[in-house]
């Protein structure tokens, strides 16, 4: 159960991407075998895709899987490297926090606007941003707490690697 909660974003994201794949496969088969068109299929597949991206991006952020390089910072003296690491997490806190806030504003403004095909509220799509960036903000706070703890443990090794 604890493992499930820990990887909850991964499960949510996997769920949405599965829906996307299944919808597209079924849509092709229906069309090719029975000449049946499902007008909402593409839009539904795309909305699930978007949810999968932002929730999945948060899961990858937690596991530091987003593509970057730490080689420049690694060549620096350990103290400088640590300081940059903390600074980076502070910048990320401002960034993810701002994105979280802005996605709330955006979603609030999107409530009355219909999607192209199904005509459902765009808020169902945009709220994926709130979830994704909200989780990322929480993870950034977690990283900063780790930084803080390690600072007081003194012998903190590089916990800020980004792969």
């Amino acid at each position: 159960m604890k493992a499930f909660i820990k990887d909850i974003e991964l499960y949510i994201s996997s769920f949405f991407i599965s829906i996307t794949v299944i919808i597209v496969i079924v849509n092709v088969l229906l069309r090719y075998l029975f000449a049946i068109g499902v007008p909402w299929a593409v839009e539904m597949a795309t909305i699930c895709f978007i949810w999968s991206i932002f929730v999945g991006a948060s899961s990858c952020y937690k596991k530091k899987m987003h593509i970057g390089i730490d080689l420049v910072t690694r060549t620096m003296p350990p103290k400088v490297e640590k300081a940059i690491g903390v600074l980076v997490n502070l910048i990320m806190l401002v960034l993810t926090g701002s994105l979280f806030y802005l996605s709330i504003v955006l979603t609030y403004n999107a409530v009355g606007k219909p999607t192209n095909v199904m005509g459902i509220s765009s808020a169902y799509v945009n709220s994926s941003l709130i979830v994704g960036f909200g989780m990322m903000t929480i993870h950034t706070i977690g990283f900063l707490i780790e930084d803080y703890k390690m600072y007081f443990k003194k012998n903190f090794t590089n916990g800020l690697d980004s792969k």
Binding site: A35, G37, P39, V42, E43, K113, V117, G119
Partner: protein
């Protein structure tokens, strides 16, 4: 009209200081007539205002377009959006009815409709939502069925997969006309046709010529189910923040640009049809009344339309046709 809501005159010395930079965004490619006319309008406005109103034109969807473009306008960015009026329909749904299926038979009818009190009222409602409509008069020609067989009645379309843009209006309309609407983005439409994933598209003769659709499909059934149009939109507050004489210039020049576009459209249309005929494309008339009987349901089922809007539009059309 909306002009009455303008704030008090800006004093002349303030006019001297005023300057504004506005991004104009549309999705058309640089060679399209509309692109040329939009760039012309921006140049003339810059000249007539001594550079005070500097409109920078971005084509091909480099900046936000479609819903995202309208959103820029509504939210008050220094932005001009050039889009199909159905996008205004997200804010004032009756704009969808104005360009709904099987309404206009000629370009003149549409132009005359734009002069009616009904449209003036709609424009005012849009202005209240933050969309100042500079013109609605840009036209691209009628959209017809482009398939590989002759279509005369709705029954002929049964079971046909027709590519439509990702739009509820299109899906409902083509569905009502008897086809199976298949929404696909345009860049997948041509491969889909080539591979017979869909049996046809709906669009203008110009589209058929420019994208070489005639290599795959040989029949145009002239349903005229939509008249392709576009409007030019700016934020209401941004518009009225300009000195009155600049407002007048901007308004005039976009109307003029739309009219130049339409003149060239009408002049070219016959030529386009002839070129297609030379390539072996066959054109046929359809039973328009049969289609109209089917598509009128769209005006009832489409979400958010004012009850009775269809009758009002048809009433105006009757007056226009009476003249």
């Amino acid at each position: 009209g909306a002009e009455d809501e303008a704030p008090a005159d800006v004093a002349d010395e303030k006019v001297e200081d005023f300057s504004i930079k506005i991004q104009l965004s549309h999705v058309f490619s640089p060679k399209d007539q509309l692109s040329i006319e939009m760039a012309n309008a921006a140049d003339i406005i810059r000249e007539r205002t001594d550079g005070a109103v500097d409109i920078q034109v971005f084509d091909s969807g480099q900046l936000p377009v479609y819903k995202e473009g309208l959103e820029q306008v509504v939210r008050g960015a220094n932005f001009i959006s050039v889009e199909d009026p159905s996008y205004v329909g997200d804010y004032v749904p009756d704009f969808v009815a104005l360009i709904g299926p099987m309404l206009y038979e000629t370009y003149e009818e549409y132009a005359a409709m734009m002069e009616t009190a009904l449209v003036a009222e709609l424009k005012e409602r849009a202005a209240e939502e933050g969309i100042k409509i500079l013109t609605l008069e840009v036209m691209f020609g009628f959209r017809n069925m482009i398939t590989d067989k002759e279509i005369v009645t709705p029954e002929d379309m049964e079971g046909m997969l027709i590519r439509v843009p990702n739009s509820q209006l299109w899906i409902e309309t083509l569905g009502a006309m008897g086809a199976t609407a298949t929404p696909l983005p345009w860049n997948e439409a041509v491969p889909a046709l080539r591979q017979k994933v869909v049996h046809g598209i709906e669009g203008s003769a110009t589209t058929m010529l420019h994208h070489k659709i005639y290599e795959m499909l040989g029949h145009v059934s002239m349903t005229k189910h939509f008249l392709g149009t576009a409007g030019v939109y700016i934020n209401t507050d941004v518009f009225y923040s300009m000195p009155e004489k600049y407002q007048k210039i901007v308004q005039e020049e976009f109307v003029a640009a739309a009219r130049r576009n339409n003149e060239i459209l009408i002049a070219n249309n016959e030529d386009v049809v002839n070129q297609l005929k030379e390539k072996g494309v066959k054109f046929n008339e359809v039973d328009a009344d049969a289609f109209r009987a089917r598509t009128s349901v769209v005006f009832e089922t489409f979400e958010g339309l004012t009850p009775g809007i269809y009758d009002r539009i048809m009433g105006e059309l009757k007056i226009i046709r009476g003249n």
